[in-house]
């Protein structure tokens, strides 16, 4: 099952290694962005947003249309993020906040209904066939050569933005007044409310921020992946694996786990192409056995 020759051949040539590592890294970064939203929302609101993949899709399609209309990818990425964030706030206020504290099945059902509705809306608006944005004009530059491998400039941009946003998210949660309030409200909402703070608004904003992270991921994925209704499901499952491996509520954990999974995917596609998904679940199972709280998790955002 494992193609040791191919694996050894790739691992021993720096060109192949660089190519696989960069593609693993961009998969990892997309996963990280989606998973950090899942983990933030769970850590604070104690709700698992099963519909998170839909916001990834919304981000991708918003970015696609903005890019088609304006030819400006940076604007497109911004629209993808903000659009997904606004949709997230609406989803939180109108739908998911009504099932806070209710049983998991109810939350799952509500999210699943939302996923189906959004998928159909996308089909109605953008059609059911695959769409491709292609590498944006801003990044149609010759690839950088690095140790014999090729690194497209867009990939560098993608990784840079993801790291930047990841660091920003951690700072937002730990250092800003917004983050402090949200973390306090996660543990004792009535007391925070009694201090004059509209807790619901903070919860909605946090939810929206988490969805905006998925939206950014969608916008960053649009140039390198094809767009299709239902594209949110695959990344949702993988981002859950990342969240579990990294530890629920831990953004650094999500980062670490996303890189591990990204590299497993890209190296695996050379060495054990038929067992890539299996390998990811196997890593998750091992983590759950030996470290049930995840690599860096403590159970909630700290």
């Amino acid at each position: 099952m494992i193609d040791f020759d191919a694996l050894a051949a790739c691992l021993s040539t720096s060109a192949c290694l660089v190519n696989q590592a960069t593609s693993g890294l961009i998969i990892g970064m997309l996963l990280f962005l989606v998973a950090s939203g899942v983990t933030l929302i769970f850590g604070v609101l104690h709700v698992i947003n099963f519909a998170h993949g839909s916001f990834y899709m919304i981000g991708a399609y918003f970015a696609y249309t903005t890019y088609v209309l304006t030819g400006n990818y940076f604007l497109a990425a911004l629209v993808g993020a903000v659009g997904a964030g606004i949709c997230g706030i609406l989803f939180e206020r109108l739908i998911i906040s009504r099932v806070y504290g209710q049983n998991l099945l109810m939350q799952l059902l509500v999210c699943y209904a939302f996923i189906l509705i959004v998928d159909d809306l996308v089909k109605i608006i953008w059609g059911a066939e695959y769409l491709a944005m292609g590498i944006p004009a801003e990044f149609r530059l010759p690839p950088l050569r690095f140790a014999g491998g090729f690194v497209p400039p867009f990939y560098l941009f993608l990784v840079g933005i993801a790291v930047f946003i990841g660091v920003g998210s951690v700072l937002l949660v730990t250092k800003t007044r917004f983050g402090k309030i949200v973390r306090a409200a996660a543990l004792n909402a009535p007391m925070v409310s009694a201090l004059g703070i509209r807790v619901n608004v903070y919860f909605a904003l946090l939810f929206g921020f988490g969805c905006a992270l998925a939206g950014v991921a969608g916008a960053l994925a649009a140039p390198v992946r094809s767009l299709t209704p239902g594209m949110g499901l695959g990344i949702l499952v993988e981002s859950f694996i990342v969240t579990v491996i990294g530890g629920m509520g831990s953004i650094p954990g999500a980062f670490l786990a996303a890189i591990i999974l990204g590299l497993t995917r890209s190296i695996g596609s050379v060495g054990f192409p038929l067992f890539v998904d299996g390998a990811m679940f196997m890593i998750m199972a091992l983590v759950l056995i030996f470290r049930p709280t995840g690599l860096l998790g403590q159970g909630a955002v700290r």
């Binding site: 402090k180 004792n188 409310s193 009694a194 201090l195």
Partner: protein, 246 residues
Amino acid sequence: MTGGTNGSTAGDVILKVEGIDVFYGASKILFGVDLEVGRGRTLALLGRNGAGKSTTMKAIAGIARPRKGSITMEGQNLAGERPDIIARAGIGYVPEDRQVFTMHSVEDNLLIGMKKGIRGQEDWTLERVYDTFPILARMKDRRAGLMSGGEQQMLTIARTLMGNPDVLLLDEPSEGLAPIIVQAIGDLIRTLRETGVTIVLAEQNMHFCLGISEDAAVIDKGHIVYRDTIAGLRANEEVTKRYLAI
């Protein structure tokens, strides 16, 4: 209602509670509770264990919902409003079980409580709090969950003051604390009074209130049974014997 004169507070009432009923599930806890708090004055709400002091405070703060009656602050009806709206109307609530944010630092607790008062006043700043509570200044980076009970009590009071309230609800601030700390809390409340803030102080211990409050109301089994000045209450042996554990 057995009654004292209470004439002193009639002049300028800042907070008025009229006929509130509160239920926990099916059991009725408060029966038509009335209170009047004069501007800049301190009212002691006295009563035994389980008399309904905390429930009254929670009802004013919006944590418990009154099913009947009205709560007016400066003429604005607040009964049934959300706690954050009540807090922004100028009522600061210090709960009996302290409820510091245990995972946050002392300073972060204070920052979460920070807001302008109802007239836009920002009298209480971090600097002033640290001035008034030197112990908090010394511990500002400590995790609040690691502080002693007395320190946490100081912190919850300070955290509420950061919101620049006009009325301060203090629910048994001396409960479970060593005598020397109780003394310090008493001194602190006297200092606060001088700033002009109106205070409602729920207490079991009348003696703690003696040098602190000028008005008193006694609650028993969810009924207000007596209202007077604290001096009048102290002189009334019948009431203190009957309703207070003294």
